[in-house]
């Protein structure tokens, strides 16, 4: 197990370097950001040249990348154009998005798996069909539609919740954005667990457990659910990274100053330190979440062992 973890951690290094390099190239390909700093006015050549020199933009791409990576290993992620260090932006953005993601994941797990179990156990009945139709609707409606719709109905029309999130982003204000963010994944979790449960209800070990006379809730939670969760856990694990990076839409709708907001600003302003810095952290989150998923397999199904 320990060796497996170490091997996995070592594998992350090339993935990390490769992905940062790709992102760096992509941002670089967007073009020179300096002209946009001057708005509609012409950039003053002497000032623009100084800014380029300071930002290392007057060097070839590979030199910029090496310089950037060198900085990163010293804990310096560069500076955004408004003069703020990117680490400062991260310190303010990541906790917010992390909270939002946690809310979304919790909703996803609790509601998604519950509905999946309900649906899977009553396959073909009214409730199953209803849930299948509902999840299909949820999957096919884009996030910004549900976002604006729920914001309008709950926030503006009925006034149940604040339509936007205040700067501190306390947990209770994040519930509605969390629901919006979770909805699509929730539908997938429901469908995945439904299928898995439905398959396993006919398995021998379930029949055995029932024949042993175990109480129904014990059969479901200990035997049926545990064995059905592997595909669901895989999905939720990869979803953590996707949710954090994909919060751009939700964060915009609810005015949450998190990762999505900073990434959006960084891309609009062609600011490579911001974009690469944030994506770098997201890549690490993604890799760690994947590792966690793989380790969870062994917990769920002891037959899966890692050397």
């Amino acid at each position: 197990m320990g060796r497996y973890v170490i091997r996995r951690l070592l594998q992350m290094i090339p993935v990390f370097i490769g992905s940062t390099f790709l992102i760096f190239i992509m941002v670089y390909a967007l073009g020179d950001p300096v002209a946009a700093l001057f708005g509609d006015k012409a950039p003053d050549p002497a000032t623009a040249a100084r800014i380029r020199k300071d930002l290392y933009l007057d060097r070839p791409l590979w030199e910029q990348y090496l310089h950037y990576m060198g900085q990163i290993f010293q804990g310096d992620f560069g500076t955004a154009f408004n003069g703020q260090p990117v680490t400062e932006l991260m310190a303010s953005a990541f906790p917010v998005t992390l909270r939002l993601t946690l809310v979304a994941i919790t909703i996803e797990i609790v509601v998604g798996i519950t509905l999946g179990v309900v649906s899977g156990l009553r396959r073909g009945r009214t409730i199953d069909t209803t849930l299948l139709v509902l999840t299909l609707v949820v999957i096919s409606v884009p996030t910004f539609v549900t976002g604006y719709l729920l914001q309008y109905l709950l926030g503006v029309k009925w006034g149940w919740v604040r339509p936007t999130v205040s700067p501190d982003a306390p947990l209770n204000e994040l519930i509605l954005p969390g629901i919006v963010l979770a909805l699509v994944s929730l539908a997938y979790v429901t469908r995945l667990s439904r299928t898995s449960i439905a398959e396993n209800t006919k398995a021998d070990y379930v029949r055995t457990a029932v024949a042993k006379g175990l109480p129904r809730h014990r059969v479901i939670t200990r035997h049926l659910l545990r064995n059905s969760l592997i595909p669901v856990v895989t999905f939720i694990g990869t979803d953590i990274g996707a949710l954090m990076g994909g919060a751009i839409v939700t964060e915009r709708i609810f005015n949450i100053h998190g990762v999505g907001y900073q990434l959006y600003q960084g891309i609009l302003r062609n600011n490579s330190p911001t974009v690469v810095g944030f994506v770098t952290i997201l890549v690490i989150v993604f890799l760690l979440a994947n590792l966690l998923v793989d380790l969870l397999y062994a917990v769920l199904d002891p037959r899966i062992r890692y050397a």
Binding site: F38, R50, V118, P167
Partner: protein, 540 residues
């Protein structure tokens, strides 16, 4: 029925959670008593007077600083603020005398030195200030801001402090309306703290305006409070302003409608159809000093060869400005009839007859003119703009449709959308575009000079189409030397008539400032720069 029980539990949990959030907020409308809460965008650059060149940062500087001259928020007329008088004999050497009794909010007096230091700082290339070119008229600018290499001086020789209240300015050539340019925020004075502890100053700027910064969290918001010791006459009538950064102006609008925000100074295009319903007469839509044009790449011979001026005029006549401004912009844009802005006023040089027929939709004449001029280069035309903001994609499609319909030769007009503003600016400023491209211009000061010289004078800084006409240059030079303002404006208009004949850029529409506010506010108005005049807003 265990499954159904589960579902019921889940539904109940969500309902409880939603109810809990309802207690958290939504009940109180707007902000604290006496405080205006207003939408804000994250300023692009650090907040320094000589480094701020966009509306969001300018909004703050307008509350924090007062300069020598201030533009009347209603008329745009330049009026002395800190300046007792600005005198000149020859339109080239100026003596500035300051009024008594002005201080920064930290108690430091505003002296001649505060201005000279600030201007020298702004001009010095080592400080990388975006607005440095605003000081380029002052003698000695090249010493502190050489086009390459290191500066040979730290101060411009054209600026001399005589005593605490007086300094002189020598320009490198005559510029009669120069004092009127001093209302621009780059010319604000700076306290000593700015130079001694720059980082701390940027975290919490100190100025001499009617407000002070109470707290500033970058990327989130700024709380400004009324400065009771403010010596000026335009004291704030409210207790303060809370600027809140919004990631999206739609969200800001939602907050305004649901009572969480008092003032939005940019109504999102999608909401324009509801705005009158939602806000009634709490919706402001008034001209600002902004014009949108389509500039031709005259550096490309296919657009500049003789006879092409007919084609350029023809394209202008093929654009149905009335319909586009009504349908797409819902009258937040006004069809352009000259190259300036109605916000200047006719006294200031705006002339709605100047473009004449060339800015009037006339498909038959357009078709004829384009044929006479030899047709579109290669039989087609491509419009370019960034499409990340401002409904640019929509109006470009509409303009192309209008041109295609007028010419009746099939889809000869196409759109080249550029993803980000930065990318578009790169292509534009490196002269890579081969068809007409959008150029927006927001004036820095309400002068006709600012709408013409930087854009169309030979070699001027923002002359992206590389238009060049000796007669135009001569008229602008003469206008700048003219001591009588009315004469100067007449000369500028003569120069503008050359634009009407040559059509180096097609005036599309004037952009209005739009804002909406909550019931508890009154006396809300926008100035010519489409920034709310915060110090006059009353909160009930």
């Amino acid at each position: 029925m265990r499954g159904a029980t589960h579902a019921r539990w889940a539904a109940a949990a969500v309902a409880v959670a939603l109810a809990a959030t309802a207690c958290g907020g939504g009940s109180d409308s707007g902000g604290e008593a006496g405080i205006v809460s207003s939408s804000w965008g994250d300023p692009q650059n650090p907040l320094e007077p000589a480094n701020t060149n966009e509306v969001q940062g300018g909004k703050v500087l307008d509350m924090l600083f007062r300069g020598l001259v201030r533009y009347d928020p209603a008329t745009g007329e330049a009026q002395n603020m800190l300046a007792e008088r600005i005198e000149t004999q020859d339109s080239q050497n100026f003596t500035v005398t300051l009024k008594d009794g002005w201080t920064f909010s930290n108690g430091e007096p505003v002296t001649a030195q505060s201005f000279v230091d600030a201007w020298n700082y702004g001009a010095d290339v080592r400080n990388k200030q975006n607005n440095a070119p605003f000081f380029s008229d002052i003698a000695g600018y090249d010493d502190v801001h050489p086009s390459s290499g290191d500066p040979t001086a730290t101060a411009m020789k054209g600026l001399v402090v005589k005593d605490a209240k007086t300094f002189t300015v020598a320009l490198d050539k005559k510029f009669s309306t120069w004092p009127d340019t001093l209302g621009y925020q780059a010319f604000s004075p700076l306290p000593k703290a700015f130079f001694t502890d720059h980082a701390a100053w940027l975290d919490k700027p100190v100025g001499n305006g009617p407000y002070t910064v109470d707290s500033y969290t970058k990327g989130t918001g700024m709380k400004l409070r009324r400065w009771d010791g403010y010596p000026g006459e335009d004291k704030a009538v409210n207790d303060g302003v809370d600027l809140k950064v919004y990631t999206d102006n739609n969200t800001a609008y939602t907050d305004l409608i649901s009572g969480n925000l008092d003032l939005v100074d940019d109504i999102p295009a999608q909401q324009l159809k509801n705005v009158k319903n939602d806000l009634g007469d709490r919706y402001i839509n008034q001209p600002a000093l902004i014009i949108q044009t389509l500039t031709f790449p005259l550096y490309d011979p296919q657009w500049s060869k003789p006879g092409m001026e007919k084609v350029r005029r023809g394209i202008s006549m093929a654009i149905n400005r009335d319909e586009i401004t009504r349908q797409i912009f819902r009258e937040t844009r006004t069809p352009a009839k000259d190259w300036t802005s109605p916000a200047l006023g006719e006294k200031g040089g705006f002339n709605p007859a100047l473009c004449g027929d060339a800015c009037t939709y006339d498909p038959a004449a357009a078709k004829q003119l384009i044929q006479e001029g030899g047709g579109l280069p290669g039989g087609k035309v491509t419009l370019t703009s960034n499409v990340d903001t401002g409904s640019h994609r929509d109006w470009m499609d509409a303009v192309c449709n209008s041109i295609n319909n007028a010419l009746g030769e099939g889809p000869v007009c196409t759109v080249n959308p550029v993803g980000t503003f930065a990318d578009f600016r790169n292509q534009q400023s490196s002269y890579k575009l081969t068809g007409p491209f959008r150029s927006g211009w927001q004036a820095d000061y309400p002068l006709i000079q600012n709408f013409l010289q930087p854009l169309y004078y030979t070699g001027a800084s923002s002359n992206y189409g590389k238009f060049s006409d000796p007669q135009f240059d001569k008229l602008v030079d003469e206008a700048n030397q003219e001591a009588d303002p009315a004469q100067a404006i007449a000369k500028f208009q003569d120069a503008e008539k050359i634009l009407a004949a040559q059509m180096p850029s097609i005036p599309l529409w004037y952009q209005n400032g739009s804002a909406g506010y909550a019931e508890r506010l009154s006396d809300v108005a926008l100035n010519q720069f489409s920034v709310p005049v915060y110090n006059r807003i009353k909160v009930s």
